[in-house]
Symmetry: C2
Subunit: 153 residues, 2 copies
DNA sequence: CCAACATAGGTGATGCGTCAACTATTCCGG
DNA sequence: CCGGAATAGTTGACGCATCACCTATGTTGG
């Protein structure tokens, strides 16, 4: 057991800032989306994936992979979204174990209405506050950290 | 309703990177802490606040404020932590409505054991991957965004 | 062809976060 | 000193995330 390399003043300031930023930013984005379209951020994510496709219909597994979600989490979430009429499950002829998930009209309307407001909020809270250099720095930082995350599983 | 100012390529890359980073980083930090000390990140936060004090005993309200948590969330969480023997509730003589929260020996041991490993993980995943300039940039970015968050409530 | 295994996906239990409502106490104006 | 408002904290219901397990179907080697 070697000595713990504690964070120095600078690192610790950056870390506290990062934690505070992401906590508050996530909470705010969630609140705003909930307020003006009744969707949660996770509903939104799911709907985005379904909309991104040419076919508005995806296998559950593909959706899980695209979202990087556990299949069980997705399954539960889809059940709730289906209950609210945002998506429907459809049988899959080629593989009877599988299922397709399709957007409903209501789901499509919901995301088309939510997206502009969401982007506007992100722009207002984040990108309008940052210089171009900072935007690039943020992307670079994310890349470094993500590389390390993948490197170590 | 004016035109939506969508994100350009650069912004959108930064945003995707940020989202991926924080999602994966949070998940990883959580998993590691859970694995090597049985604490969740939120348990850890609570214990840190209790340890930071001179007196290892805080009013629930003070704790809520320090953590920036809703009192109800904190109340639920403390109930679970108490059940696991990490903290105890104590009566408050000066104000019979109130309660003190104190660290137990088990709670103290838990955080003392968890902290070094946690810092080591943060260092490995984040600070060892970044240059000094990037660390400062991250802090600056967080400040800008946090300022805007506070400005707009 | 069939037994063993893999794969797609769902289920139930439990912990967590939020909201609204509630209880018990304290404070404060008259 | 008393009645109403404010405050401290808890509770219950519900949506969400995770874990372990389950079912049904498909695949494959013998």
């Amino acid at each position: 057991m070697t000595e713990t390399r504690w964070l120095d003043e600078r690192e610790s300031a950056a870390w506290r800032g990062y934690l505070a930023m992401y906590t508050q930013l996530a909470a705010r984005l969630h609140r705003e989306m909930q307020a003006d379209s009744g969707l949660s951020l996770t509903d939104f994510e799911v709907l985005v994936r379904l909309t991104d496709q040419d076919e508005p219909r995806l296998r559950v597994g593909e959706l899980a992979q695209a979202l990087q979600w556990e299949k069980s989490r997705l399954s539960h979430h889809l059940a709730r979204m289906q209950r609210r009429g945002l998506v429907v499950r459809q049988e899959c002829p080629e593989d009877a174990r599988g299922a397709f998930i399709a957007l409903t009209g209501k789901g499509r309307t919901a995301i088309e209405q939510a997206a502009p407001a969401h982007v506007e909020t992100v722009r207002d809270l984040v990108f309008d506050q940052l210089t171009e250099d900072q935007v690039d720095a943020l992307a670079a930082i994310a890349d470094c950290v993500l590389d390390r995350l993948n490197e170590t599983e």
